[in-house]
Structure formats: structure tokens, C-alpha cells
Symmetry: C2
Subunit: 413 residues, 2 copies
């Protein structure tokens, strides 16, 4: 089943808005066995929209539009579609009543301008929108079918998932494009490739993509044009093989944050965590506390950005003077001090040169020292990260979480 | 001058990649007086790409493509374009030499697979790519002109800015679409609208858009289809009027972070800052330290997530017991203690209920108390923010920075 996407909005063409709807729709449709063969974006211009719509229907007879269903005069999609398919717009009293009630619930007064949102092309199926005011519409005409969804991302996603995909399901082939991600961290891409090369050679018909990012390399397995149960089975088995092969370098799937994995691990073992951050400036704490319920594991810590806060924490001045703030001795002292001060099981400390200034031949920009303290004692490791200031800080935060996870898992911690 | 954008890549249609190139290209071209009338995305399929290209050239005779210039067999754009325009591909020795040298500089060995990247359609202008390996190409044929850029965002942006726009400039009309953003914070959208309504009524021919986000409401002024000098003059004057009217609620322009404005203000006044963060968990420190050179103003602070860290900081236990961690008394004690401990000029403290759990009728999810300490003494303010956990934390961080900025500017601080 082939379909074309038509996204409508002057702000999309002008680049004021990034078209995230298109990506969501593409993934959702491919995963349900619908092939998106082309995507077109046009401005809020009725003639240009009409042309693009007619061309798309001529190619596939099935078009999904996003945008242009709101109450302002820029919102032309419904009118243009009805016009092209030769259908009149009818005012539906029950849609209007629902709209008036919705506004009342939100304590707002509805305007006459919204009346057009209760107009529906004759014979269209109305897709109820629980997330906003403009319902989706599904129209069939001689030229083909048009599914219209609003452009607001949360509304578009809700309607796609709960109204469009279930209605398409009986008509799609069972053949789908689906993927599954295994996140990895703390291992360079080339080493990773060596480690999984034996598995990679036997993945066919799945493909494997390496997606390097600031949190590590994501491995994306994809099943192309395959029966859905077979696809899910192969993806499950292959991701499991990758996880076993990569040990603790592999964690979670698409959208999972290492901080969440760390919290689960610590919670299961009854361990608490504190941090002492210099160059990351609070980023590690911020990532951990982004996870709901982190307070039973994460106590807090120190942002020791200036050297005098490192001293106040308990790093001896002679260490700062002799070895500098970015050194093995300093991060060890930071980790030990913050752990003891707050009576935590595990502590991590970070001190580095995020740049752009401050580098030297011995300690180039990107140099970061990490300290860890626990029942095992104190340990430190140095890493040199590539990239901009933001990138170095993000990579360092991820590495700190990875180190904490390793120490939380090890028996002696 | 009308142009169509053609973005090429199966991963775009499948939604694995969000098409940020399209947004960048749209803004850059509109700002230079080129009207992007349509954007089309096709997969890495030569027949579908050829169809879409021929149709686009038929409409505008000027097409800009992104993607499909790499060394793999998926990279078909150059071949398809040359084929459609009836031009042969020629191997260019000097391009190959440059490529070999580039690989050598990066310590990598070039593969024969890369030879195709030195092939150029006969008569094409080569646009040198300083950011990667695939040069851009500009071809004219009987059917029209095609500008080809690589899909890697940093390469696409560099080539657009330094190679494409300067070459288009002599041919474009002087009429452009340009916008300018005035960022605002600490003021609700409805109050903002009231405050600027007199100015808004006199902006014509500029338009004003309200773009609410987690850091406040951005005001975007846009000049549509206007001579470029006139557009810049009107945008400059209007944004200045908005700034004057909104006082310290207005700060910076598109892409500016309030943290940078705060650091500049403090630096100019020789003031230092510390933080004591509970529900934001390090987010304020992280945002401040994201700005290079923040160390002369920002000393660091405490992530007092667990109550025992609030006690350790110096919040009396009877305050925590009597008023709770999310209270005026607690944030005042936190701000006072962290300022005194580290001898800073200004301190902010934050304690709130970010949810999703932990709310109560008296203190619903979203309730956040802020404390400020300085030469003026100690102050506190409460705010209730809407949204998810992430959104509440982001809004609270922004409000903390805004409060610090106000206190830094006030004489007594």
C-alpha cells in the first residue's frame, strides 16, 4: 500500500518550523506496512495546495495531509480538498456543540471564527480529536482518498496512532518496515564494529546501522518489507545477541536514558549516589533528576566550578596547586570528600577542560578526569573527548553515568 | 526568483531522520530573496528521484537538492541529475588528489569506493566543501538548473552560506522574507499581548507572531516580500520599540540564552553567583556553565535534592519539619546559607514539586519556591508552572535565571 504525505504550512517552507510531524508519520506508517513514497510540503496557498494534492492523488490515490485545519484564514486544507473532490462543506451541529463544551471546560469563550471547525465535507468520516479542537477527516472521492490531520504535533500523533493506523490495518499488506535500537556507550565505534562483526555477518535479511551520537553509538537493526511477526521475531533475537555480545556497553532501547538504567540498578541494590561536578556544571545531576522518582537513589551533591568550591569541599590546596584542578589527584579527592560528607554509597566527580579556551599541550581541550568513590575505595580515569564545549560536556556526563553504573554493578561497590 | 527543494533519502521518508536541512535551507533562501515554493522528499530510488526532479524543473527551472552525494551505492543524486540533463560524468584528477590529502590529514586511508566522489557532470561548477568530502555541484542544462548539496547538516549549511547564497545574490530580486525575534520571559502571553497591543496595531507591513515555549514567549517580527534594506530597517526599529516597552522582560534575539545575558550583566558589575538547586537538580548550573567563560561569575553551588543535603547546607531541621522542603522558609534558608558559605554576591535557591507524583491540594505539582540572597537581604517568590516534569523544571530554571538577572541589575544587590 503506497501513500503520499502532504504537509501544509508556509512556516514549514520558510523554515520557521521543523517538520517533525513528517518523521513521526513516516515511522508510524512504515511500521504498519504502509509505504510512504513521497512527501511534499507546500505553503498556505490554495492554488499551490490544490496542484500538489491533485498530482499526489494521481500517483497513489491515497494522500495524508497534516496542517491547515485550524480556525484562521490561513487554514485552507479542508476547503481545498473538498473542492477538488467535488464535495460540499456541511455544518455539523454535534461537532459545534462538542467544541463549545470543550472551550467551556477550559474556561474560554468560543468565537464565531471557530464555526468553520464544525464544517465537514459531505460523506467524510470524522476522526475525533481528544487532544485539540480540529477533528481529523477521512474523505473518499473519485480521485482517491484523503486523510486530513491537524498540524499540532500532539494532535497529529494522537490521531495517527488511535484513528488512522487502526483504520488502515485491515487494508495493508502484512509486510512492514520496523526497526529496533540497541544503545551502546563507553566503546568507540571502530571497537564496537570489531566486537559485533561476527553477528553482523549473519544478520541478513536485517540491516544494521551505526548511529554515533553524544551518548554513544546507537545500533539500529531494521527489517525491510517483511511479514510483521517474522520481523519482530528477528529483531528481538538479533538485539538480544548484540546485548549479550556487548555486555554492559549495551543498555536500553530507543529513547532510553542511561540515567534511568543507573537508577533502576541502584534501587535494586539499595545504593545511593552523590556527585561533585566541575566542568559539567550540574548536567549529571540534571540528567539523573529528570527521571521521576530519582530521590530514593540520588541525594544531590556539589557543583564545584570555581577552585575555591573544590577547596571548600575538601580538596587540599596543595593538590590543587601541585596537580591542578584537572587531575587524577583532584577528582579522587572530590569523589572521596563528597561521598563522606553526605554518607552516600557511590560518588562520581568530574573535572575537565570543556573549552573553547583553557587547553594546553599536556591537557588539551576535551581532557576530562573522572573520580569514583565507594566501598571499593577510590578510582580515577582520564578521557579526551572530541567536539565543541557542549559536546564535550554531554559526552563527559554520559561517561560519568556509565562509570557509576559499572561501579554499582560490581560486587564491591 | 522561485526555487524548489528536493531532499533525498530513504531515512527521511521512514522518519529515522528529521529533515532539519529543509528548515535551514528555507530560512536561508527566504532571507536572501529566493522563494521556496515547494519541498519534495523522495527515497534513494533512481526512478522516483528522476520523476520528482523532472517535475520540479518543469515548474520552476531551479531546484536545490540535499543528500545522495556520498560514496555508497545509495548515493544516486549526481548520477540521476547528470542523466536527466544529458551530461556525462567526468573523473577530475584534482578533486581526487584533494580527497586523498584530506583522508591522509585525518590519518585515514582512502578507499576506491570514494573515487565516485571525484566524478563531476560535464560543465558543472564545483562548490568546494571545507566541512566534508563531497563537494557541492551546480549544473545548468536545457531543462533548467540544479544545485546539489550533501545531506550532512554541517556541510549543507556551510555550502549554502558560503557558496550558494553569494552566487544567487546577483540574480535574486531585492525582495526578501526576513524575521527577527525578541525573546521575553517572566510574563504570561496574555499580559504580554496587552502590553504590546499599541505597538502591534502600528506594525504593518510587519507581522508579529507569539511563540510560547519553556523559556518564555518569543516575539517574531517578519517582513514579507520586501526590499531588503527596508525590511532590515523596519525590523530593527520594531524590535527596539518592543524592547523598550517590555523592559527587563525582553532579552536577546533568536538563539540567545538568558544565562549568557545574566553572565554579561554580572561580569559588568563584578558580581559572583552561586546556586542551591533541589527540584532542578543541577539544571541552572548546567545552563550557566554551558556559556564559555562563565567561571569568572559562576562559582558553583549545591544540588540539595534530598532533605538531608538541605540540612547539611544549613536549613534548620525545624524549618523542614514545620514548613516542608517546598516552602518560603526553606528556600530563604537555602539561598542565605549557600551565599554565605561560598562568599558570593548573589544566590538563588529552588525547591518545588516537579511531579508527576508528590503534589497535594495546598502544593500541587508545578509549585516551585525560589529564594534570592544578596546585599539586599533575602527574598522569596512562589510560582506554579504548568506541564510535564521536564517542562516544569525547564520553566523553573528559566525563572531562576530571570530572578538572578533582576537582582543583579537592581542597585542594592
Amino acid at each position: 500500500m503506497d501513500l503520499e504525505l502532504l504537509t501544509v504550512g508556509t512556516e514549514l517552507l520558510l523554515g520557521f518550523t521543523v517538520d517533525t510531524n513528517a518523521a513521526f508519520a513516516g515511522q508510524a506508517l512504515a511500521g504498519a506496512g504502509v509505504r510512504v513514497v513521497r512527501r511534499t510540503t507546500v505553503s498556505d496557498d490554495p492554488a499551490l495546495l490544490r496542484d500538489a494534492l491533485a498530482e499526489a492523488l494521481g500517483r497513489t490515490r491515497l494522500v495524508l495531509t497534516t496542517g491547515g485545519l485550524g480556525p484562521t484564514r490561513d487554514d485552507l486544507t479542508k476547503k481545498v480538498v473538498a473542492d477538488l473532490l467535488g464535495l460540499e462543506l456541511e455544518f455539523q451541529e454535534e461537532l459545534w456543540t462538542a467544541l463549545v463544551e470543550r472551550f467551556a471546560r477550559m474556561g474560554r469563550k468560543i468565537s464565531d471564527r471557530n464555526r468553520c471547525q464544525a464544517e465537514v465535507p459531505r460523506g467524510a468520516v470524522v476522526l475525533p480529536n481528544r487532544w485539540g479542537t480540529a477533528p481529523g477527516l477521512w474523505i473518499s472521492g473519485e480521485l482517491g482518498e484523503v486523510i486530513m490531520l491537524p498540524g499540532v504535533p500532539i494532535e497529529m500523533r494522537g490521531l495517527m496512532t488511535h484513528e488512522v493506523l487502526p483504520r488502515l490495518a485491515p487494508r495493508t499488506s502484512a509486510r512492514v518496515v520496523r526497526s529496533r535500537t540497541v544503545r551502546t556507550t563507553g566503546i568507540p565505534e571502530s571497537t564496537l564494529a570489531d566486537r559485533v562483526s561476527d553477528i553482523e555477518a549473519t544478520l541478513d535479511p536485517l540491516t544494521l546501522a551505526y548511529l554515533p551520537g553524544l551518548e554513544g553509538v546507537d545500533l539500529r537493526l531494521t527489517a525491510w518489507d517483511m511479514e510483521s511477526t517474522a520481523a519482530d521475531g528477528l529483531l528481538q533475537a538479533a538485539s538480544e545477541r548484540l546485548r549479550v555480545q556487548l555486555g554492559d556497553h549495551a543498555y536500553g532501547g530507543e529513547g532510553d536514558d542511561l540515567a534511568g538504567i543507573l537508577l533502576d540498578e541502584c534501587r535494586a541494590r539499595g545504593k545511593t549516589i552523590v556527585v561533585a561536578e566541575s566542568c559539567t556544571g550540574g548536567m549529571i545531576g540534571q540528567r539523573i533528576t529528570a527521571i521521576p522518582g530519582s530521590s530514593d537513589v540520588f541525594l544531590g551533591g556539589i557543583i564545584a566550578y570555581a577552585d575555591r568550591l573544590k577547596s571548600a569541599l575538601g580538596v587540599p590546596d596543595r593538590i590543587l596547586e601541585e596537580f591542578g584542578a584537572v587531575s587524577e589527584e583532584t577528582v579522587k579527592a572530590m569523589a572521596k570528600a563528597v561521598r563522606e560528607r553526605h554518607g552516600a554509597d557511590l560518588a562520581v566527580s568530574v573535572s575537565g577542560i570543556a573549552g573553547p579556551a583553557g587547553g594546553s599541550p599536556e591537557k588539551p581541550v576535551g581532557t576530562v578526569w573522572f573520580g569514583f568513590a565507594g566501598d571499593f575505595g577510590v578510582a580515577a580515569v582520564r578521557w579526551v573527548f572530541p567536539g565543541t564545549r557542549d559536546e564535550i560536556r554531554a559526552r563527559a556526563s554520559q561517561f560519568a553515568l556509565f562509570g557509576l553504573l559499572r561501579h554499582a554493578k560490581s560486587a564491591g561497590a
